[in-house]
C-alpha cells in the first residue's frame, strides 16, 4: 500500500466496502483494488482490515458470500450486498456526508 494514502477509520471501511459492492459482486482482492483506483490511490485499505470487515459485514447480514470462479478460473469467494446491506449503505452514506460537512465547517472557520 502506498505510504501517502490516508489511514482509514474503522466505520469508514464498512461504508467503502458497501459502496464498492453496490456496483456488483466482487471478491476481496477486487474490492481492495477498486477502492484504491476510485480514490486515485488516496485511500489505501490494509488487507487485514478489509478481510476482517468483510466477515464482520457478512455476520451482520449486510453482505453475503458465495464461492465462484474468478476470471483466471480459480475458486474465489464473492461478496455481494443483501437487501439489508443496501439499506444500510444509504444510512451510512448520509451519516458520513453529515459528518464530513460538519468537520469541514469546523476546519473552515479556523
Amino acid at each position: 500500500m502506498s505510504k501517502t494514502s490516508l489511514d482509514l477509520m474503522q466505520g469508514t471501511v464498512a461504508v467503502l466496502i458497501l459502496k464498492t459492492l453496490s456496483w456488483g459482486a466482487m471478491h476481496g482482492y477486487d474490492i481492495s483494488r477498486s477502492i484504491r483506483q476510485r480514490s486515485d490511490g488516496a485511500l489505501g485499505l490494509e488487507d487485514a482490515a478489509l478481510y476482517q470487515a468483510l466477515h464482520r459485514l457478512e455476520r451482520k447480514g449486510w453482505i453475503e458470500a458465495e464461492w465462484g470462479l474468478s476470471e483466471n478460473n480459480r475458486k474465489a469467494k464473492f461478496y455481494r450486498l443483501t437487501d439489508e446491506g443496501r439499506k444500510q449503505l444509504q444510512v451510512e452514506v448520509t451519516t458520513w456526508r453529515q459528518y464530513a460537512t460538519a468537520v469541514a465547517k469546523v476546519l473552515e472557520t479556523a
Binding site: 500500500m1 456488483g24 459482486a25 466482487m26 471478491h27 476481496g28 482482492y29 477486487d30 481492495s32 477498486s34 490494509e46 488487507d47 487485514a48 482490515a49 478481510y51 476482517q52 466477515h55 464482520r56 457478512e58 455476520r59 458465495e66 464461492w67 465462484g68 470462479l69 474468478s70 476470471e71 480459480r74 475458486k75 474465489a76 469467494k77 464473492f78 455481494r80
Partner: protein
Amino acid sequence: MSRFPARRLFRFPWRTAAQVAADVEEELRFHLDLVAQELIGEGWPEEAARLEAVRRFGDLESTRKICRKLDLSKEKQMKWIKALEELGQDLRFALRQLAKSPAFTLIAILTLALGVGATTSIFSVVDGILLRPLPFPAPDRLVRVYPLSDAGKPSAFSVLNYLDWRKQSRTVEAASLLDTTSVNLTGAGGEPERLRGALVSPEFFSVLKAPLVAGRGFAAGEDRPGAARVVVLSEELWTRRFGGEPGMVGRTVTLDGTPYTVIGIAGRNRWPSIVDLWMPFELTAERIDPGNRGAVYLSAVARLAPTASLQGARAEARTIAARLAAQYPEKNTGYRMDLAGMQTFMVGDVRVPLLILMGAVLFVLLIACVNVANLMLVRASGRESELAVRTALGAGRARIVRQLLTESVVLALLGGAAGAALAVWATRALVALAPQKTPRLQEVGVDSSVLLFTLAVSLGTGILFGLAPALRASRPDLSAVLKEGARSSRGRLAVQARSVLVVVETALAVVLLAGAGLLLRSFGELLHVDPGFNPKHAIAFNLAPPSPKYEKDATLRSLANTLVERIQGIPGVTAAGVSAFGQPLSSGNFWLSFDVEGRPKARPGEEPAMRIAMVTPGYVPALGLKLIRGRLFNAEDREGAMRVVILTQAAAHQYFPHEDPIGKKIILGWGFANGEFWTGRVVGIIGDFKQSTLSNDSDPQLLAPYDQLPIGSLSVVIRSTKDLGAVAAAARAKVHEVDPDLPLYELQTMEDVVSASVAQPRFYMLLLGGFAAVALILAAIGIYGVIAYAVSQRRQEIGVRMALGASRDRVVRMVLGQGLVLAFAGAAAGLGAAFLATRGLRTLLYSVSASDPLTYTGVALTLVLVAAFASYLPARRAARTEPQLALRGEV
C-alpha cells in the same frame, strides 16, 4: 472485475469448524496469490513477491482467527434460521391443510377445547387448594396442633391444656390458640354489621409471619385481663367499611358496644381467610379456672422452630399429652395430642374428592384425545394417496411424521387456546358454585402456572393423538395405494385400529358413568333422609346479642321472650321459637356430659354425653318436631319453676334402654351454682332430628327451656302458612323494633338450610355427572364415526348382499350389531375397570355400596342404548344403498 457466478457452486447448508477454517484459508490464499502475481508483474522475484504480499497484508494470523470466529457464529445463526424457516413451512402447510377441511378442524378443536378446558379448570382448583403453598413465609413450617378424640380424630383444646402444652413445647418458635367469634360493629357511618372475628394469642402474627399492610400485630401481655382493647382489621373490612382510610391505625372502632383501638391491618395473606378482624384471646380468670380444663373448644396453630422436624414435634406432643393425662386424671384421662402440617390439615376433607375429580377429568381429556385420534385416522386414510406420492417423490419418513405431528400439535394448540378461554370462564363458575366451606377457595384462579399446565397438556395431547396416526400414515404400502382398488384392505385395517380406540373410550366413559351414577344414587339417598324436622314453610335466622348489653340472664330472657312474642304476632305465623345453639344442619355442635340421678357417677373420661340445645316453647312446633310421649315445654317452664328437659328418642334409647326416662332427673355437667349442677326432670320425648349433617346418625339430644338456662346466641325458627318472603321482611322489622343495634344474619328458608347442608356432595355429583355426560357424548360420536366409516368402506359389499336378496332389515341389523359389539366390549372392559376405580369413591358414598349392582346395570343399559342409537344412523343409511349403483361402484 468478475461477474457474479451465474451458476452457484454447491454449498452444504452448514459447515464444520474445520471446513470454516479451510474456507477462510482458501479465501486468504487467493488474495495473497493475486497480490504476489501483481508484484511479479512489477518485476519482483517470485519468492520475494510472496513474502512482500504477506507483509503488506498486515496481521495475517489474527485476521485468520477473527474471520473463523465470525464465520462460525454466522453458521450457527444460519442453522437457527433454517430450523425456524422449516418450522414456519410446516406450520403454514399444517394451517393450509386444516383450513382445507373446516368441518374436521372445527370438530377436533371443539372436542379438544372441551377436554383441555375441563382439565384446566379442575386443575386450577387442585392447584389453588392442594398444590400451591400457603401464602406465608416458609409455609411448610406451619402446623396445626390438636388433641385427639377417642376415635382418633382431631378435636379441640381447653385453654389450660393449650397453655400447658405451649409452656412445655420446645419444638415450636411461636404458637397461638384460635377461637372464632362474631361481633357487632356499630357506628362508623353505617348500619350495624355482624363481623366474623378470630380470638388469638399475642404471638399469632409471628406464627403466620405474613407482613401486615399497616400497623403492628399483638404484643405480649395484650391478652391479660384489663389490658387495653386492641383489634387488627382485615384489609377487606378496612377498604369496604372505612374506605381504606390511611389514618386507620390508632383510631377507635365500636365492637359489641365497646371501644377498641385499631393497631394493624392484615393484608390478603392471612388466616383464617374468612375472618374480618382479630382480637386477643383474653385470659380471664374464668377461662383459666382449673374447673374449666375440660371445656374444649379451641384450635391451635404453631410455627415449628428452625431446628425442629414435624416428627420431632409430634413425638413431643405425645409426651406432653401423656404428662397432662397423668397430671390431671379428672379431666385428661386418655389424653392424646398430635400435629399436622397446616396445609395438609386444611385440605384434609377435600383432598380425596378433588383428586377423584382430577382423575375423572383426565379421563374426559383422554376420551377427547381418542376421538380426535379417530378423526385423524379417517383423515389420514383420505390422504393416503397424497402421502404415498410424497414418499415416492423422496420425502423421508421422519419428514412426513414431523409434518403430520406438526398438524396435530397445531390442532392441539388451537384446541388448547380455546380450552384456556373456556377454563377461565369455567373456573369462575366452579368457584361460584363450590360449597362456601371449601378451604382456600378464594385462592383458586387461572394464573400463569395453570396456563403453563394447559400448554403442557395441549402439547401432550397433540403428540398423543397425533403420533399413532402419523406413524401409520407415514408407512403406506406404496404399491397397494397407488394401484387401483386396493382401498378396501387398507380401509379394513383402519376400521380395526379405530375400533380399538372406540372400545377404549367407551370403557373410559363407562368408568365415569359408574362413578357419576354412584354419586347420584348416594345423593338421592341423602335427599330421602328424613331430617326429623319439617323444612317446608319455615324460615330461620340468627342473632348474636352483644355481650355487655345482654350479659345478664334477665336481659337475654326478656330479649328472647319479647322477640318470640312479637314474631308470633305476624299474620300467618303459626309457631316461632328460639334455640341457643344454632340451626339444625348448619352449626351447633355443643356436647355436654351428664349424669342421671340415682346412678353411680361415671369414671372420668367415660361420662355419657349428649348434644344440648336451650329452646323456647315455640321452637319444637316451629321446627315441626314430633312429640312421642310426655309433653313439650310451655309458658309455665320459667326460671324459678321446676327445671325440666326433653330427650330425643335416640337419647332415650341409648341412656334409658330398659326404663322409662320420663320423670328421671338429669344432672348436666354445666351451670354450676349454689353448690350443685343444673338438674332437670325429663318431661317428654320427641322424635330424632338431624343436628349436624343428614348423613350422620341422629345424635342423642337434650332440650332445656331457654328461660331456665339462657345463653347469648339466638337462632330463630318461624313456621308460617303465608308467603315466607313477607314473613321474613316482617320478622326483620320486628327485630329492628326490639333492638336497632342487633344485626340479623343467615336469614334463609329451612329448605335452603337443608339444601346448603348437602352442597358438598351435590357439587361433586354435578361435576362428575357433567364429566360423565361429556364422556358419553364423545363415546357416542366415536362409535358413530367408526360405524359410519365402516359402512362407507363396505358400500359395494352391502350392495352385493342386497342384490343377492338381503333385506333392508337384515342390513340394519348387521350394521347395528357391529356397533353393539363395540359397545359390549367397551362396557365389559369399563365395568371391570369401574369396579376397581370406584373403590376410591367409597368415602364419598352414603348408604350406597361402591359396587352397587343397580348403578352398574343402569350404566351398562345407558351405554348400550346410546351405542345402538349412534350406530342406527349409519345403519339406516347403509340400508338405503341402491344395489345397482353400488355394484357399478358409483357410490
